[in-house]
Symmetry: C2
Subunit: 461 residues, 2 copies
């Protein structure tokens, strides 16, 4: 079986054919990493500036501050608001005038600023992204305006009951751990946010050692590295132009499996799921049912992938068939895993009429337990492998998928898989391994989150 390519910081220049593309990697003396994947025939490119800092790295309480929760996301917004040479309008215009698809996202373990552009426009995108990420002025007036924008973003999410259920689910499953917190903070922390705290976050966390630049599509590695160094005003052998520490940022807290299990299961009957209910006027009750899952590098992730495909990964999956196709109880029913460096969640989602909530919860539990007890059929295993192979091949046609994959390998597992090498691993998973991982999940304390019209549901905590 082919091994993944490992990405240690002291690896010399990497240049390798991978999944039909050519992957190259350069580690600059400052710690800055640039990875590219050239795709034959591409006429456009996706580029991302990734900072290895996410909401989990925030500190709930600083000595003298009301808390920095949401400051990573607040900072992401502010980086669009201006540098000494470009105001917010100039930044917006520089992307719009080339028709770029561009945005930014804050996740639990990283923040990303990205753009997809025609090949001829790549240098423009590099120049503006580099300026935004390293030279933001964090203007106090813009800070106040953006506070309003972020409060509206939170209000929009609060009106989306599926979003609310998702955040409650992470909180319920992961307990007090930083991975369980909402990425954007909450209205209280955003109202209390102070510019100096966000600036401190910027100064402490945005550093060459946490910055990874990845690009895929119509991209020439050497030219891109030169453009990046020029845009960052870094000489090829220079460490960094400020006196910031090049010490890589480290996670402030690690998820302890045992402690998290305990937090989730405290005071609950082992056989009864912990119910977390939020009453909101609605037509549907948004249900999330699940437990702690696998971390990104867990060797059982390939077995989980096959199991998840069969349980809830498509229209032919067991959950979709039992909940929607046979009984018409929901429009959507699926299962998913979300993995981070040292923990994760496994969940099942369904939106259903409140009166049917108990039935749907029971069906979801039964299907998970059935895979744990009986495993899956050979026909299901083959279908899952076909689904993974087909959907992976389609996904890798998009330069943004490849751009993101490079960054997640670099910032996360440190392993880069060729598509075929990855498919070999899925194919090598045995029926027993699939049954086993379902068994591990089914044995963990189950959490049920319900958001919506509780009165008609018969559910109570």
């Amino acid at each position: 079986m082919r091994e993944p390519i490992l990405l240690p910081l002291d690896l010399p220049e990497l240049d390798v054919d991978l999944s039909g593309g050519q992957v190259r990697r350069t580690v600059h003396p400052s710690g800055l990493r640039v990875l590219t994947e050239r795709m034959p025939g591409a006429r456009s490119a996706s580029i991302g500036f990734w900072v290895g800092v996410g909401s989990r790295d925030e500190q709930a309480e600083r000595d003298d501050a009301p808390g920095s929760l949401g400051s990573t996301h607040f900072l992401e917004h502010l980086l669009f608001k201006g540098t000494p040479t470009r105001d917010a309008y100039a930044i917006a215009t520089s992307f719009d005038r080339i028709g770029a698809e561009h945005n930014a996202l804050t996740a639990k373990e990283y923040t990303c600023y990205y753009a997809k552009v025609r090949d001829a426009d790549l240098e423009d995108a590099v120049t503006v992204l580099a300026d935004m990420v390293t030279n933001s002025v964090l203007d106090p007036g813009e800070f106040e305006t953006e506070r309003g924008v972020i409060l509206e973003e939170l209000a929009m999410a609060a009106d989306d009951l599926g979003d609310v259920a998702n955040e409650r689910f992470f909180e319920a499953v992961l307990g007090e751990h930083p991975l369980g917190r909402p990425i954007g903070g909450n209205p209280e922390t955003i109202r209390a946010a102070r510019r100096d705290d966000v600036e401190l976050h910027y100064r402490e966390r945005y550093d060459p050692s946490t910055l990874v630049i990845t690009a895929a599509g119509a991209v020439d590695h050497d030219r891109l590295v030169a453009q990046v160094l020029a845009a960052l005003q870094l000489a090829p052998d220079e460490r960094w132009r400020t006196d910031r520490s090049a010490e890589p940022a480290r996670r402030v807290q690690r998820l302890d499996d045992a402690a998290a299990t305990e937090a989730v299961s405290a005071g609950q009957d082992a056989a009864a799921p912990a119910l977390h209910l939020t009453d909101r006027p609605s037509e549907q009750l948004n249900l999330m049912i699940g437990t702690r899952g696998l971390c990104s590098a867990d060797p059982r992730r390939f077995a989980f992938g096959v199991m998840n495909s069969v349980l809830g990964g498509g229209m032919s999956s067991r959950l979709f068939q039992e909940i929607r196709e046979k009984r018409g109880l929901a429009y959507t029913a699926y299962s998913f895993g979300a993995s981070y460096s040292d923990g994760g969640v496994f969940g099942i989602y369904a939106g259903t009429a409140p009166e049917k909530a108990s039935e749907v919860i029971e069906l979801a539990r039964l299907e998970l337990e059935r895979v744990a007890a009986e495993g899956i059929t050979e026909e299901e295993r083959e279908r899952a492998l076909g689904q993974i192979a087909g959907s992976s091949a389609l996904a890798l046609e998009d330069s943004d998928t490849r751009m993101g994959r490079l960054a997640r390998a670099e910032l996360g597992s440190g392993e880069l898989y060729d598509l075929d090498a990855s498919l070999e691993r899925f194919a090598a998973v045995t029926a027993e391994e699939i049954r086993e991982i379902a068994g591990v999940l089914a044995a963990r304390p189950l959490t049920v989150v319900g958001v919506g019209e509780l009165g008609r549901s018969g559910l109570s905590a």
Copy 2:
């Protein structure tokens, strides 16, 4: 200036290079049309079976039935539920085992069943889609189950206040016209729906003359035509295997400009917008502000495209700058046009705190009026052209965009534009034409839809 390619039914075989692809078209004696666009280097293909029937073609009242509203969408669901040789599980499995991205959608003027697959899987997709679309059994038991699924889909949409605002907006702007109706019907019509009515809809409306099959990506036209004819069991010179009429389905009602204007503006002060408010508990008020827009073939659509880009088409647009960037009143603010064969809407969306609703409505009106009065700057015009050119080029890299573009040209305008020919038209738009189209829209009676917490908004009808 290059002219578009016209697509009359009596056109002999078409074979032309277009926007970097090779477009071919075959009209079968039955009326069936097959269009393909071969994209050099593509390893996958998107295929769609498009039926020229949408929710606007439904009749609100039949002589003996409570109404067929929502039957087009109900039928779309049922086509996944089985044929004489494939049950619902077999259909789902045949897509999942190749990892296809597949789905269906019902729009106001067409229904589409599509899949994106690796090149080697294209024939499988053709076979299953053809069987679904032409041989559905519409099983009575499945009909009842699917009624529940559709009611859940409507419930999900009812919980999404942005969706609710969008439907209210079409109803308010287009009045009683069928284009103004919600695509999926409503819970009352779905509860009342009868299998025989939906079957009649299927028999009357699904016909070779309304069926258009389009594919883009790694596709060989001759091979695809042969596969389609084999899957539909049509000889190359055969008209159709049933005794159904090959008379093309026609729209049951045309939108009359004057009547619709009258319906919208009835009883309203010309200077005051017509307010349509829906009270729902929420954090944000979802606002839609607009009026009737352009039909698909309106020659002013290129001027509208440039105007819309400047007014509300990106982060540098006037609406985004005024509402979000300068004042922090919303997370999202944009303008859009939706065009149909004989009418359309123009709208502005923003979600804001209820207390700020009046201010946002006023800002949106002012910005539209400002473009109508003063036009746009040359710098804005150039930026809009760059945005249209860049985003069009990026969009055309996806085979599903090209697949959809072929179908909309065939079923809609009957004109197929090369990318460069289309960009020439945008570039030829004068500043005066841009000001003019803004003036036309600003002079029409304005409709304001608000969905959310009205109590704090100060708005009242």
